[in-house]
Chain length 430, copies 2
């Protein structure tokens, strides 16, 4: 049995500094939890001279990854570089060097998870990635261990803090989209280039990871239908409120008849559901299983502290296993056993907002378009006529319909002379 | 390595039948998750001839616990008898016979946890008790594994489904207490004798378990201050609503300066907090830690299916460990390292409702009573005079005050001639 457990840290950005700080400042507590002293041995950086927010002995820093990969005293590698390159290559090398890996990297786990799990298995080490999804909220063990008895049928998740902050600002403070994004940037909740968050790329990675864990089949980012929040207008929030809904960027994964659907898009959520009350930078993941019923995990989904919490927890768990002489290893096989449902085959309800001419028979034309495609209208709201443009805003909610039918309807509506514009359409989940 | 893993089930009530059913009907799936075939070998019952809601081979039933305890082919004992006797004795015997134990028994875990964990450790077996608190919501592993990096500072929990259903009925449907309890009984959410739930005994057991897990110090039911919900009147809900609060039976555990406070009592919870939105038979546990921030676990806290989910999950986890040749064992030491803060020393805010005479100077007298004890009033609401009794209802909210000062104030108020009655006082948490 080893006396000390050596840690190699790869990456020293905001998260890396947070992790290094906690490893140093709480070394006694963490070592006690782990059952062995944990020692930070080396930190891989790009630039040795960069000023950083953590007081590290300069001897710990290196720009050469081999200083970590070839050090027999390093047992666990923490990867917080982020992105695909060079992180993927370094994680593979670490596993091949029989080092356990803890990573916060949603991109490599969602794209290359099965390959990495297999590589870890072959080298009798573990790869843990709690920090890759939901910040400090415990999620991966929930699926690996805690919900094993149930057949998981669906996941609905608010898993991107930036977009949830933007949507909350739009809903509560009446901001338009651009204004809300600027405010999030000023507060440090959105990056200078917020595309990855705003367009749902981050949420797509995370839901691929969650769906893979929940359904025991490999779901990759390519399998996820994705739509961001940039098309939302404040008017949509006004109508949502009036109709009893909140608008959230939901990451949804469902299983039925052996097929999986996975999608990320703005969604109407009934106001009386807890998910509609998840505001600001908080995240929540709702899981439904046949025995357990509905379970929700809620907490801070981003930021250095919650992410560090998840990373250090993974490190402690691995250290405990090393001490016990036990390698956790993935306990479930992953394969492409279930097929992915194309987006055109999903069934859901829809909200449609359009601008129509103020002429007789408009509603009848629109109703016929829907009716011919077997889409049934649940309710319609028509607003006062705008005298200047001689047009009016029409908002409709449908009963459940097939996405392909809905897409046809949208195409046909845009060709109707009475329809000036289909301003937005948003899917509705209960 | 064993080929098959034998299960002995003790107890065949509502939960026991649920567990037996799932073990039989889903044997293939559970065995796959476990890595070994799981076989239900014996079921301990009190009455062989009782008609039950599960189709079991009568050869499986026994009234003699030795048939389980002495069977070398039984590796895991599931205890769902409930209550202290004979469950405690049987669990001890099972552990001493080197059998792993999975139990749903909050009473024996909260009262005798450390003794049972030590006994398990001595016999190199495990005792898991996920089902003892929060039904199917994964909680025990959250504390044992997932939140290890954080210093947990507080827990607030809605962990009794019966009382939460009763409180929700009072709040939403305007029922008085007795009426709400009768309704819960009709719907099967309250027992014929609902005392254990209504008076907070069940929540007391559960918060002792959670506090022990969170703070790594033994907290027993005797350490928990307890007040039930039977004194609540619909008027309190009216005022709460008016003041922006919900009323919940909160189980609270906090750690400061090394001292622990643990209490169960009706509590004003600000309406904009997620905990205030947890309604009906749902449970939620909010945990605060220094790195992880605020995390909430939400789900069905009672009922045979969620409880079975937790039990079967524990069974699968133990079976996996048996297959890996690894005994999980409690990874943290438990001792009475931290002292328990007496209820008189806690600090919180208060809501007080009283009936006072309609005479000049009443408010001044009451304000002086509070002021002399250093209790500062945050707001006061006075309702219209009831002509018949020449009295009026006065509702006050205080700033944070010491419980001992508040108790003195209540005593003094009742002696003021102007105060007809102190109708209720409820603690307030944010």
């Amino acid at each position: 049995m080893k006396n000390k457990i050596g840690i190699g840290l790869m990456g020293l950005g905001v998260i890396g500094c947070g992790v290094a700080k906690v490893l140093l400042e709480r070394s006694e507590g963490i070592s006690k939890q782990s059952g062995s002293p944990l020692v930070l041995k080396k930190v891989l950086v790009k630039d040795m001279s960069k000023k950083r927010n953590v007081d590290l002995d300069s001897n710990l820093l290196t720009t050469n990854s081999d200083d970590i990969l070839s050090d027999p005293d390093i047992d666990i590698v923490i990867e917080v570089i982020g992105g695909e390159n060079p992180a993927l290559d370094l994680v593979k090398k670490a596993l091949s060097s029989e080092k356990h890996v803890v990573t916060a990297n949603k991109e490599i786990i969602s794209k290359y998870g099965p390959e990495l799990f297999t590589l870890a298995d072959e080298n009798k080490v573990d790869i843990l990635y709690e920090a890759s999804v939901g910040g400090g909220i415990p999620l991966t063990n929930a699926f690996k261990q805690d919900l094993l008895a149930s057949n998981i049928t669906s996941i609905q998740a608010i898993i991107n803090a930036t977009t949830n902050f933007v949507l909350t600002s739009m809903a509560k403070e009446g901001f338009e989209f651009d204004e809300a994004v600027r405010r999030a940037q000023q507060l440090g909740y959105a990056e200078t280039d917020p595309t990855n968050d705003i367009e749902g790329v981050d949420a797509m990675y995370k839901v691929a990871i969650l769906a893979t864990l929940a359904f025991r089949t490999n779901v990759t980012p390519d399998d996820v239908y994705r739509e961001g929040i940039s098309k939302l207008a404040w008017r949509d929030f006004q109508y949502a409120q009036e109709l009893g809904y909140a608008i959230k960027l939901l990451a949804i994964a469902k299983k039925d008849d052996g097929a999986i659907e996975a999608r990320v898009h703005p969604t109407f959520v009934p106001q009386d559901l807890l998910m509609a009350q998840v505001n600001g930078v908080f995240n929540a993941v709702q899981v439904e299983g046949d025995l357990v019923g509905r379970v929700i995990f809620y907490g801070r989904g981003a930021g250095p502290e919650p992410t560090t919490s998840a990373i250090i927890t993974d490190v402690i768990n691995i250290a405990q296993d090393i001490k016990l002489g036990f390698s956790r290893r993935p306990k479930f096989g992953l394969s492409r056993t279930k097929k992915i449902k194309p987006m055109s085959d999903i069934d859901t309800r829809y909200y449609i907002r359009m601008r129509v001419t103020d002429t007789p028979g408009v509603l009848a034309q629109i109703a016929k378009t829907f009716g011919d495609l077997d889409i049934s209208i649940a309710s319609a709201l028509q607003k006062a006529v705008d005298e200047k443009t001689q047009s009016t805003e029409l908002v409709m909610m449908t009963h459940p319909a097939r996405e392909s039918a809905m897409q046809s309807a949208l195409g046909q509506l845009e060709n109707l002379s009475a329809v000036r514009e289909v301003s937005n359409f948003i899917r509705v989940e209960a």
